[in-house]
Amino acid sequence: MVLQQNMLSHMLLQIPLLILIGIIIGLSLNTRYHIKVTYSYALPGLLIASFSLLFWMLPRSLDASLSYPSYAVAKFTTLPLLIGIPLALCWHAITAITKGFFITQIISMLMVLAWLYIESPIRLCNYYLINEQQQLGYALLFLTLFISIYYSSKLFYCTHPSSRENTTDERQDVS
């Protein structure tokens, strides 16, 4: 509840923590029951997560979770159940291209969201102050930068596991 008093901690601490709880549940389910999700279910699963995330990104939904108990309950259950668990179970089951597609989409979306929060002349949430909204915008901007730099540098320096075999094969060919 304390986390909800400030927009920044509501959006960037409470919501991610709730998702994280879902991820932990999902991972432990996975280790205990060895759930194997195929691609035909993994992609829709991630789509469910995206739609749920979009829903909670609507300023209206955020306000409603503070005004109406029903929305509050919905928030505390759907964030772990519909976002965290699908993420934990489905992420490893999709192809590299789909992963890349999700990551690039998230980067563009975060960039746009950051701009929306910084530039919005109106208060998007009736429960929060306009300067909190701008702080949130800048926080999102840094998050976007961080994610982009993280993934780009990963592409440069993390050696893909399957490629090690390939390159050693080639080296033998050459020699």
Binding site: T104, S108, E170, V174
Partner: protein, 480 residues
């Protein structure tokens, strides 16, 4: 290094893409001719139609250059890494859907805000087009962007699967730490560079497109116009430059067939590509010399990098081309001739570009025909010649045999008329004739009229290239 054979599905998709390329190029060239004729006073075009054609010509040419470049990149990169044909087909289909949206927005919705869709023009048409038309245009561009994002994701995935990381596929171990392993082939180096810079460009481009759509829907969300312009040119400049960096792969791969000398990635080559990948990303401020609100350091960077950005890759490519053909007993046919022409067209186009990249010159020349002069130079004689050269290479072994006199004559017609056409632009720019004007003063009209004649010949030659490709392709298919 083993070269992997192309799957039939992939081949068929490549052919389809090239047919799409030729048809769109011809249509857009005709749109260009109509605009030049109208500026020359030969025909009268209503001003609104002129700006619709200007928009269609710009967006069409940039898009199709992207598609043409991707075709070449995919065809050759597929020989080294496992690319998915299904992704290539998805790219093509999404591209066509996006193009349909764009065409509908222009010719049904009257959108005429130029391909650069500079903020805030699309949302402020003064009643010329509706907001819906502007949104359709921006959405169309977004879909085309998604198509290319998919294409590069697949390329990036495949490259990393084989080479482990981008630093290795750019040849950094060979460049920086004297690794004795064989460096990745030029195609892989170039593809990596384009994958990196275009992914960044497309992410930024998608963001500004979505921001502008939101702004049109709800004008309360204002956009800093300078930020918007920076984002648009970061995307636009990088994207159009990358088309050449993709198409140049044709030169690296095809010329060795003619000269029996391999094109190897040596350290200078690797250094040049790495340097160019950074510079192509930071050179875009040279589009904003007229914006006094830009920070001075960015403008100075724009000028300095304009001088140097093309040079590394250009230099290694031009010198490499000379080295590979010098006393090699190269067999001249349409493919090899177009490819060698393209290298020099690209090199030549850089000269007016560098002149224009100088702040003091740009202050005077920015809104003259000089600017379309420089980019038509390296797009017509460079980029497009590369794709046509590639097309001739694909049909080389058809049963209709060797190139005939028609091909040879068309090559010279294309070379001479394209050169004449771009020099008319440059000469007009030197005389201070404004660009983007629907109607020209009488004393300007003769320039456009002469340019129209050259344009007509360019179109005839391009039509011959395209038709010969389609006919010989059919013959080849019948054979197999």
């Amino acid at each position: 290094m083993n070269v992997m054979p192309l799957p039939t599905g992939g081949k068929r998709t490549i052919y389809t893409m090239l047919v799409v390329f030729s048809s769109v190029i011809l249509l857009m060239m005709i749109a260009g001719l109509v605009m030049r004729l109208s500026q020359g006073g030969v025909i009268t075009l209503p001003a609104d139609m002129f700006y619709k054609l200007l928009t269609a010509h710009g967006v069409g040419m940039v898009g199709i250059a992207g598609l043409g470049g991707s075709t070449i990149m995919w065809y050759f990169l597929r020989q080294y890494v496992q690319l998915h044909t299904s992704i290539l087909i998805t790219t093509l289909v999404l591209f066509l859907i996006g193009v349909s949206c764009i065409l509908a927005s222009i010719f049904l919705g009257d959108f005429a805000g130029a391909w650069t869709f500079l903020f805030p023009l699309p949302g402020h048409s003064m009643g010329v087009w509706t907001n819906e038309a502007a949104i359709l245009f921006l959405t169309g561009l977004l879909i085309v962007g998604v198509a290319f994002v998919l294409f590069y994701l697949d390329a990036g995935r495949a490259i990393i699967q084989k080479y482990g990381s981008f630093s290795r596929s750019l040849g950094w171990p060979q460049l920086f730490s004297n690794s004795s392993d064989e460096a990745p082939p030029p195609t892989v180096v170039a593809s990596t560079m384009v994958t990196i810079v275009n992914s960044l460009a497309l992410v930024v481009g998608a963001s500004i497109l979505i921001m502008m759509i939101i702004n049109i829907l709800n004008p309360n969300f204002t956009i800093d116009p300078l930020l918007a312009k920076n984002m648009i040119y970061f995307f636009g400049h990088t994207f159009i430059n990358a088309t050449i960096y993709m198409a140049i792969i044709a030169v690296y791969e095809i010329l060795p067939h003619y000269t029996n000398r391999p094109w190897k990635s040596n350290r200078i080559f690797l250094a040049a590509w790495t340097a160019s990948s950074i510079m192509v990303l930071i050179v875009y401020p040279h589009h904003l010399f007229m914006d006094f609100a830009m920070p001075t350091w960015m403008l100075i960077m724009g000028q300095v990098i304009s001088y140097t950005s093309g040079f590394p890759v250009l230099l290694v490519t031009t010198l490499g081309t000379l080295a590979i053909i010098y006393r090699s007993g190269i067999k001249w046919d349409a493919a090899s001739a177009l490819l060698v022409l393209s290298v020099f067209g690209w090199a030549g186009g850089v000269i007016p570009a560098v002149i224009d990249g100088t702040i003091s010159v740009n202050q005077v020349m920015h809104n003259t025909m000089w600017v379309p002069g420089h980019f038509h130079f390296y797009l017509i004689i460079g980029m497009i010649a590369m794709v046509f050269g590639f097309m001739y290479f694909l049909i080389k072994d058809s049963n209709k045999g060797q190139d005939n006199a028609l091909d040879r004559v068309s090559f010279w017609v294309y070379t001479l008329s394209a050169t004449g056409f771009v020099f008319m632009f440059l000469a007009s720019g030197k005389e201070g004739i404004a660009r983007r004007f629907a109607i020209h003063f009488p004393e300007w009209q003769s320039y456009s009229a002469v340019a129209s004649i050259f344009a007509l010949f360019v179109i005839v030659a391009a039509a011959v290239f395209s038709l010969r490709f389609i006919f010989r392709l059919n013959a080849k298919k019948l054979m197999s």
